[in-house]
């Protein structure tokens, strides 16, 4: 990273620029020490802890995120997802631990010690859009582009590129505050991407969006990722994380309960299949009473007029289901059998 003519990845340049030699050496020595953990990682979160008013929010969190990943962080509300993202970008200072980031030049920089150096590496789209509602889309992008030191030509090209990417080109001269919620989310992502960051952090990118917009949003995220940007997404839409993220970390009570792929979690934390049933009557009490006698269902819930059943013996359950429905002169309108979802695994993990 070059800022004001200084190559921050070069220790000699930093010392020449007046940085304390000890600090620079410590920084680069630290990198060397952590190098084994950082091999192949874009970000290495090293035993990070953070508490607010003596209330621990994160405790000894460690994560390694590889370049090009879409890394999902899931967790219940208040478990510290946003705090973790803030610690990654250096907005919050950890009580302990550090975050080390690989620069485009390949050197590793401590976020804690050199927070200003890593700002260009990250693009951060927070849960609530962070731009000026009284500026047009173009003005917002140009403004942030200028702050990140982009030249006018670059800004022009990058603005058009990003507006096309987030499908807001037609609204480039609209005041940002006049956009819909989904558009604002997309604009926020565009703002986060204006300076071509290596790593894009998205905090609840699909919150408050309808399913269609959520799908559009994820398509955009995928497109961004395809261009080589590492994406870290914190969301409570577990199914989306399951669907779009290559790797997932489950944050529970301030610690990483699990880190791996969705399948890894599901394999580890669930054995049940998910049966989704809709009947003509829409009444399921008789069904649950009958099934309870057979102990075939681990648990159940109602969702959108459907009865969702979790079972480890799907064949037996399906057989019994049809019989019970027929016995009560009801009809099966739809029936789906699915492998256990990440959500179920997450719920199991959290519980």
């Amino acid at each position: 990273m070059v800022d004001d003519g200084i190559d921050f990845s070069n220790s000699k340049d930093l010392i020449k620029a007046g940085w304390p030699k000890e600090m620079v050496n410590e920084h680069f020595n630290t990198n060397v020490q952590k190098s084994s953990s950082l091999i192949g990682s874009a970000i290495y979160i090293d035993n990070i802890s953070k508490s607010f008013n003596n209330r621990p929010v994160l405790s000894n969190v460690s994560l390694a995120i590889k370049p090009g990943e879409i890394f999902g962080i899931i967790g219940l509300s208040g478990t510290g997802k946003t705090t973790l993202l803030n610690l990654i970008v250096g907005f919050l200072e950890p009580d302990a631990g550090d975050v080390v980031v690989k620069t485009p030049e390949g050197s590793n920089v401590s976020v804690l010690k050199f927070p200003e150096m890593i700002k260009s590496i990250f693009g951060f789209s927070t849960q609530y859009p962070s731009f000026y509602s009284k500026l047009t889309l173009k003005e917002n992008l140009a403004y942030f582009g200028e702050l990140f030191g982009l030249k006018q030509g670059e800004i022009y090209e990058r603005t058009n590129e990003l507006l096309r990417l987030v499908k807001l080109k037609a609204f480039e001269n609209t005041l940002a505050g006049n956009l819909s919620g989904g558009m604002q989310k997309r604009l926020d992502i565009a703002c986060a991407l204006i300076h071509k960051p290596n790593i894009l952090l998205l905090d609840e990118p699909t919150a408050d969006l309808d399913p269609l917009l959520r799908r559009q949003m994820w398509k955009i995220i995928k497109d961004i990722n395809k261009k080589g940007t590492t994406v870290i997404v914190a969301s409570h839409f577990i199914d989306e994380i399951e669907h779009y993220c290559s790797k997932v970390a489950v944050l529970n009570k301030g610690i990483i309960s699990f880190e791996g792929s969705s399948d890894d979690i599901k394999n580890k934390y669930t054995t049940n299949f998910e049966v989704q049933l809709r009947t003509s009557s829409g009444k399921y009490e008789y069904l649950l009473q009958e099934l309870a006698k057979h102990s075939l269902v681990a648990r159940n819930k109602m969702l959108d007029g459907k009865l969702i059943l979790y079972t480890s013996t799907p064949k037996k359950l399906l057989s019994d289901l049809f019989k019970i429905v027929a016995k009560h002169r009801d009809n099966v309108e739809s029936l789906d059998l699915a492998k256990p979802s990440l959500k179920e695994a997450f719920e199991a993990l959290v519980q």
Binding site: D3, T126, D203
Partner: protein, 588 residues
């Protein structure tokens, strides 16, 4: 352009865009002050006091009191007449009138009379009271002078008429004096001549008695002569007779004798004739003597009579002389008086003429109290302009800077700004520059508007004014930024800014003179940025002084800017992260 300046320009552009697009803020912060200066320009572009409501009370209005009231009305005072003094006075308390004028009973111009006007003033309206007092006093003085002028005009006219009369009548007086003198002289001459006239009448000097004696003597002599003549005639006759006898007796021829006898006879005839004549003469002499005697007697009588008359004349002469003396004395006295009168009149005339000031205006007001401003007569706006522009800058800066800061603080983009690789000082500096630019722009517009009311005076010390305006804007921008970074909501920041501005105003001479404050309070007030800036600008705008002549205040101003800047930086670095985090935490 280095990164710092590039980022500053970017941030300033953004700030201005945001401010302009936040219509309410733009309206209040940008247009508000312009409106204020425009309205102030219109409101204060005069030196008169309009819309002062005056209540009056008089037991009996008359020509004089009415003329005074009319004068007030003509000068745009709103005059209300009250039926009672108490009602007039209480109207001030109710705010219906600003002052109550009470005319003394029988308020008229009359001999040996002094009219009295009483004013009731509400001193709780401290700003208004002096203006009202001033206006009323001015009106009363004007009216009083008008009356005085009229009276003086009459007096001066009378004096001038007297002077004219003195001059006009002076020849007559001189003639009178001259005549008097002439008469006096003539009287003197007459007196002298009269004195020279001897009225001594000696009847004996006429020799009447001598004349009688002489007459007797002459008569005696005549009688003697006649006797002698008679004797001579007789002797002649005798002689002729004798001669004839002798002749007759002689031998002479008869003829001879005859001739001689004839001669003798003719001689006797002649002697007879002579004798006859002598008789006649005697008779005549006798009659003449009688007549002479009569005449002498008459003469003596006349002389006696004349003497008596002369005696009377002498008495009259003496009396006349005395009277002439009296008359002369009187004339002398009169002349003296005339001269005195003339001298007095001359003196009066000279005195009147020597009165150089005859213009009633000058007599009424021999000493014209001309309260001159240090500078040429101007409208109120000129006088209050330095305070006004500092007040506008102060309030604009105190509102603009927090508005900008809170627009940023409240903006969701605040976090993204924090994430940008831009030094915190750049944001701080950009906010300051934005304030500076907008206020400079405002100041330019204000100055432009003000020139409409100022003419060219403003531009005399424009270079110093610009420097001071720049420093003033810098100081109040920095103070406004402190307010902005101290508060976290627009409402509290606005309240804080207005409170701070009010404190600055309260501690200035806008409400009450600083000099009227307690000394320790005055010392604080003198360090008030508003006071310092106003004083400096007043010196440059109104008096066209160099700012370097006011180096003490300039140093206070510069020192205040440095302190304010340091405080801003301190508060900014302490509050920035905290405010973002608070907002962030609140949202998450």
């Amino acid at each position: 352009m280095n990164k710092f300046m590039r980022n500053t320009v970017t941030l300033v552009k953004k700030n201005i865009r945001l401010l302009i697009r936040a219509k309410a803020s733009a309206l209040i912060v940008i247009l508000g002050p312009l409106l204020i200066i425009f309205l102030a320009g219109l409101a204060f572009d005069n030196t008169n006091l309009y819309a002062v409501k005056v209540g009056t009370f008089s037991e009996k209005y008359n020509e004089l009191s009415n003329s005074f009231i009319n004068r007030l009305s003509e000068n745009q005072f709103k005059v209300t007449r009250f039926p009672e003094e108490e009602k007039c006075r209480s109207a001030i308390e109710r705010g219906e009138v600003h002052t109550c004028v009470v005319f003394s009973p029988d308020f008229t111009m009359a001999k040996d009379k002094s009219n009295e006007l009483s004013f009731y003033i509400d001193y709780s309206q401290i700003n208004l009271v002096w203006s009202v007092l001033n206006a009323m006093t001015e009106e009363v003085t004007e009216k009083s002078m008008e009356l005085s002028r009229n009276l003086t005009t009459i007096l001066v006219n009378a004096l001038e008429y007297s002077s004219d009369q003195v001059r006009e009548k002076r020849p007559a007086l001189i003639n009178l004096t001259t005549s008097n003198d002439l008469v006096n002289r003539r009287i003197t001459d007459i007196s002298v001549r009269l004195e020279e006239v001897s009225l001594d009448f000696d009847p004996s000097a006429f020799g009447a008695s001598d004349l009688s004696g002489q007459k007797g003597k002459v008569k005696h002599w005549v009688d003697a002569s006649l006797n002698l003549g008679s004797q001579a005639i007789n002797n002649a006759r005798s002689f002729v007779g004798n001669a004839n006898d002798v002749v007759q007796a002689s031998s002479m021829s008869g003829e001879q004798k005859q001739s001689l006898k004839d001669l003798f006879e003719s001689a006797v005839d002649e002697i007879n004739t002579i004798e006859g004549k002598m008789g006649d003469t005697a008779e005549l002499a006798e009659s003449q003597f009688s007549e002479l005697t009569s005449l002498i007697d008459t003469l003596i009588g006349k002389i006696t009579q004349t003497k008596a008359q002369m005696d009377q004349i002498a008495v009259a002469h003496d009396t006349s002389l005395v009277e002439l003396d009296d008359a002369k004395s009187a004339l002398d006295g009169s002349l003296k008086n005339l001269l005195d009168v003339q001298r007095s009149l001359n003196n009066i005339d000279n005195i009147i003429r020597s009165i150089e000031v005859k213009d009633p205006e000058a007599v009424v007001q021999p000493i014209v109290t001309n309260i001159k401003p240090v500078i040429s007569e101007q409208s109120y706006l000129n006088y209050i302009f330095p305070s006004l522009i500092v007040m506008i800058i102060m309030f604009t800066a105190l509102l603009l800077a927090p508005t900008l800061i809170l627009l940023e603080k409240k903006s969701p983009a605040h976090f993204r700004n924090f994430m940008a690789p831009v030094n915190g000082f750049t944001y701080l500096f950009a906010t300051f520059v934005t304030c500076l630019l907008l206020l400079i722009l405002q100041s330019i517009i204000i100055l432009a508007i003000a020139t409409i009311f100022f003419s060219s005076q403003l531009f005399l010390g424009i270079h110093y004014t610009i420097i001071l305006l720049f420093l003033t804007i810098s100081l109040f921008s920095a103070i406004g930024m402190i307010v902005g970074y101290l508060f976290n909501s627009e409402e509290t920041a606005t309240l804080g800014a207005i409170s701070l501005g009010s404190i600055f105003l309260f501690l200035s001479d806008v409400l009450i003179p600083i000099e009227s404050m307690p000394s320790w309070f005055m010392s604080i007030a003198e360090l008030n940025p508003f006071v310092v800036c106003s004083d400096l600008l007043r010196s440059t705008i109104i008096y066209n002084l160099s700012i370097f002549g006011l180096w003490q205040k300039l140093i206070i101003l510069l020192f205040s800017i440095v302190i304010a800047a340091a405080v801003v930086c301190g508060i900014y670095y302490l509050s920035r992260h905290k405010s973002i985090y608070k907002k962030f935490k609140k949202k998450s």
